[in-house]
């Protein structure tokens, strides 16, 4: 069988931290990032003997928002239970989670398949559980290795969302996660900017063979990478006549590979049983009081209608809540030009710099000024990109807070036109006689070369169309 004929089946278990202000079972602040280790702890989240959990109602409300947005059925009776296992980051040696009676079952979300067609991904269940603490591995080979434990994360509320095994490729899995992230962000229950806020376990198999679980992948990119590696590994193994064994594997983020987990770590029998310290929760009735905000798909459709922008721009802009809001605050400059400068150019430059929109968002009005300069033909597109780059570099390093309008002034990038161009064109033509000959002999691109030289000489201050016209005056069309 060829690789293409082997069908890939992927199911995901996604754990997302809910951005409640306090932890799931105690009053400790859940906003611990950047703070010293073990400063967001109390007897309850340290699991001290004698302490008892008290459920954070807000976490259940957040989870219900998610359940409603994904069209799930909320159970009449949901039950917390204990998942028992030993690990140094797990203070009570059990995690309070949900078992046979989760918060909600069923539900679905629409994504695009690899061919761009709509595809429904069904959810199995959604439940609420607590995050364990975090191990920090220290030391070195010379003086020995040791491990520290930080319990700030212990007790942070998580929702676990489990999909049916219906994803067919790593790209599809990535799109599912992007959609999921966007929806959770729109629901205001999740902050994707927080490190480790999302963690994924992936079940993956080649049709007709055993499935393998990859545990604890902690980034969106990681999921795609891990799946690509694992599919290749499994297909190669099958092609060589080998057998896939049912096992758990760990993803090694740095290397992009997966390795088999030691059997000692996976032979665990979690001995689930109902948590006797918490009552059964009956929240199916609450769902009618949950108000869903506008979700990504609805916003995409509105953007197309209200702003008349392309489907692609609308999809990109609404695929991230902050981006959609950013766009809407500045769209009055001109819906189309703003869509293009935001979805295409700004996002490209941000990705190139590994910057997040969060850094730019507070300065939306400055970006708006830049787009306005371009719209009003005060600077050319090329100059606009140059200004954008300088502005983003400044924001990234935090060294100089210079507005785009100032950057235009300082770099003398204001658009020029008229007779001043004639002299420059003359000069460039004089020093590139071969290009003129090439043009006259109908060699393709010869004129573009001259235009490029002029743009370079004028540092993009003239409209390329004007340059074109001027050159044509000299050499003919």
């Amino acid at each position: 069988m060829t690789n293409e004929e082997m069908n890939v089946i992927i199911g995901l278990e996604v754990h997302c931290q809910l951005n409640t202000s306090s932890k799931l079972f105690c009053a400790c602040s859940a906003d611990f990032r950047g703070d010293a280790p073990n400063t967001h702890t109390c007897p309850v989240c340290l699991g001290l003997p004698g302490t008892l959990p008290v459920l954070n109602k807000r976490a259940i409300e957040y989870a219900l928002k998610v359940a409603k947005a994904f069209n799930c059925v909320v159970l009449e009776k949901s039950e917390f239970c204990r998942k028992n296992y030993f690990y140094p980051d797990l203070v009570k040696a059990y995690q309070i989670t949900m078992g046979d009676n989760p918060l909600a079952v069923g539900g679905y979300v629409e994504i695009e398949d690899d061919a761009g067609n709509p595809k429904i991904i069904n959810l199995t269940r959604i439940h609420v559980e607590e995050d364990p603490g975090r191990l920090v591995h220290m030391g070195n080979r010379e003086y020995g290795h040791y491990t520290l434990v930080d319990y700030n994360r212990s007790g942070i509320p998580l929702i676990e969302m489990v999909t049916e095994p219906e994803l067919s490729s790593p790209k599809e899995a990535r799109r599912f996660l992007n959609k999921l992230r966007a929806m959770l962000e729109y629901l205001d229950v999740f902050d994707p900017e927080k490190e480790g806020a999302i963690r994924v376990d992936a079940n993956i198999s080649i049709k007709g063979h055993e499935r393998v679980e990859i545990k604890n992948i902690s980034s969106y990119k990681g999921v795609e990478k891990a799946l690509i590696f694992e599919i290749t590994r499994q297909k190669n193994l099958i092609n060589r006549g080998g057998t896939i064994v049912r096992e758990t594997r760990h993803f090694q983020e740095g290397k992009g590979t997966t390795i088999s987990a030691r059997s000692k770590e996976t032979a665990t029998d979690y001995r689930y049983f109902p948590e006797p310290d918490l009552p059964i929760i009956c929240v199916a009735d609450w769902i009618k009081d949950i108000i869903s905000p506008e979700l990504p798909d609805a916003r995409r459709d509105r953007f197309m209608q209200q702003y008349g922008i392309t489907a692609n721009h609308a999809k990109t802009l609404t695929g991230d809540l902050k981006l959609a809001e950013f766009y809407e605050t500045i769209a009055d400059v001109g819906a189309a030009i703003t869509a293009s400068w935001t979805a295409d150019i700004l996002i490209g430059e941000l990705n190139y710099r590994d910057m997040s929109l969060g850094i730019v968002a507070p300065h939306a009005s400055e970006f708006k000024d830049l787009v306005t300069l371009i719209r009003d033909k005060k600077i050319t597109d090329k100059a606009g990109i140059e200004v954008l780059r300088v502005w983003l570099d400044n924001l990234r390093t935090g060294t100089k807070m210079e507005k785009p309008t100032k950057i235009v002034e300082r770099l003398n990038l204001a658009r020029e036109s008229g007779e001043h161009l004639r002299g420059i064109v003359e000069q460039i033509l004089a020093s590139n006689p071969q290009a003129i000959i090439d043009h006259k002999t109908r060699k393709k691109g010869a004129l573009n070369f001259i235009v490029g030289q002029v743009v370079k000489e004028t540092r993009g201050k003239f409209d390329p169309r004007e340059i074109h016209a001027m050159i044509a005056e000299f050499v003919g069309k």
Binding site: G50, L52, V54, N84, P88, A93, Y272, F273, P276, P279
Partner: protein, 425 residues
């Protein structure tokens, strides 16, 4: 230990200056109830050196009521036992006869009250741990309705059964202490806000219907004990109550349902004792699995290890349905049976224990026989109902306890009846 009965594990006293119903009264606290700045060990080597940074809800209330915390009392390790012989720090001796056990697991609390060292004590009762030593030592002990006293700070053994409760030499002091600790607590989701008003206490049982479950006088109950109890119950008729023979057939499942559930819960509760944060430092090994294994092999006593293993087994894949799930069904049957008889009756009466306090060492090597002595106390824990043990006579010079059980949140009726009985004898 400094005391003659090995009843205290810590004799650190914390006086309170608060004016309140317990002002000036010394109250001992069982060592599985967390006390801020006082070591709390559950009589286990595993918790040696552990000093809680917080007070249990009941302890906070004691302090606010003016009580002096008069030390921490010995017990069976983590509450697992019926004699206080399973303490890592040796058994507590019964003040009535120091060759005999105090009963357990709140043996230290019973002994210090019986010996007159303190006026009151807190115990905890998972399957009879207050009533058994109260019976063996000749004092009064109340296991409240499940949820009436907050469990916050009580180091869990079997969460769904246990309650903190008062122990004292007489019903009035038990009621007084109960009035301080009863009531809701937002930190315990299973607690219910039902305070107890001490001024309501008055001797009264007239017109009440007292059910006599025939299963409480059946096989395994010493006939001499049964006779003493029957005589005591007759006294209620003299006080104007009516007795009625009732039957609770589901009690045949009580012992199994109890021991399965409590070992399951215990196996999970005690997982946190892994040597990382409590107890003696484990030897350094390359693998944390090995370090955990070693510390748990040596840190826990044999009875605790036995119950952890039993519970781990009963919860594992393939056995969960056969044991845990079945035990929960049995629990429902028993609760249903009690609900039924307690619609007809106001109270139930019977012996607390099937016999008098055994000799030290007599039962310690026979866990099954030891478990069987819990047969009369366990049902109240399964049903969640309040139950009290009262001294009602002696046999071979040792105290015998009468057990009264009431309706859910029926402590008022229960204590009034107990007081009426106490005043008459």
């Amino acid at each position: 230990m400094s005391d003659a009965y090995n009843a205290f594990l810590s004799d650190i006293e914390i006086p309170s200056s608060a004016a309140g119903p317990l002002a000036g009264i010394r109250v001992a606290v069982k060592d599985n109830i967390s006390t801020k700045n006082i070591p709390t060990t559950c009589a286990s080597k595993m918790l040696l050196g552990y000093i809680p940074p917080y007070d249990a809800h009941a302890v906070e209330l004691l302090k606010a009521a003016g009580a002096t915390i008069a030390g921490k009392t010995n017990m069976d390790e983590f509450g697992m036992g019926t004699t206080t012989e399973n303490s890592a720090f040796g058994p507590t001796l019964n003040p009535r006869d120091t060759t005999r056990v105090t009963g357990g697991s709140s043996g230290g609390s019973a002994a210090v009250v019986a010996a007159g060292i303190v006026r009151m004590a807190l115990g905890s009762d998972t399957g009879g741990s207050i009533r058994c030593p109260a019976s063996y030592c000749g004092i009064v002990g109340l296991k409240p309705t499940y949820g009436r006293v907050s469990r916050y700070g009580l180091i869990a053994y079997a969460n769904s059964f246990e309650q903190i409760g008062p122990m004292a030499a007489n019903v009035t002091d038990v009621a007084r202490l109960f009035s301080v600790i009863a009531g809701g607590d937002h930190r315990d989701s299973t607690s219910v806000d039902k305070p107890y008003d001490f001024t309501e206490l008055h001797a009264s049982v007239e017109g009440k219907i007292i059910g006599i479950p025939k299963e409480y006088f059946g096989e395994g109950i010493d006939t001499n004990i049964a006779k003493i109890i029957e005589t005591s119950i007759d006294k209620f008729e003299e006080l104007g109550a009516v007795t009625l023979e009732v039957s609770l057939p589901s009690l045949q499942y009580a012992l199994s349902a109890y021991y399965i559930t409590c070992t399951c819960e215990a196996s999970s509760n005690l997982g946190r004792f892994d040597g990382v944060r409590y107890g003696p430092k484990p030897e350094m090994t390359n693998l944390w699995h090995d370090a955990y294994t070693k510390i748990r092999e040596t840190g826990f006593g044999p009875e605790v290890r036995r119950r952890i293993l039993l519970g781990t087994f009963a919860l594992s894949t393939g056995y969960y349905g056969k044991y845990y799930v079945k035990a929960q069904h049995a629990k429902q049957l028993i609760r249903h049976d009690f609900r039924r008889v307690l619609t007809d009756c106001d109270l139930l009466a019977g012996p607390t224990m099937p016999g008098i306090a055994p000799k030290i060492g007599e039962l310690v090597d026979d866990p099954l026989r030891m478990y069987q002595t819990d047969i009369l106390t366990i049902p109240a824990n399964i049903a969640g109902i309040p139950a009290i043990s009262l001294p009602c006579g002696t046999f071979h010079g040792m105290p015998v306890g009468l057990q009264l059980m009431g309706k859910i949140f029926g402590e008022e009726v229960l204590l009034n009846a107990a007081l009426a009985f106490e005043e008459m004898t």
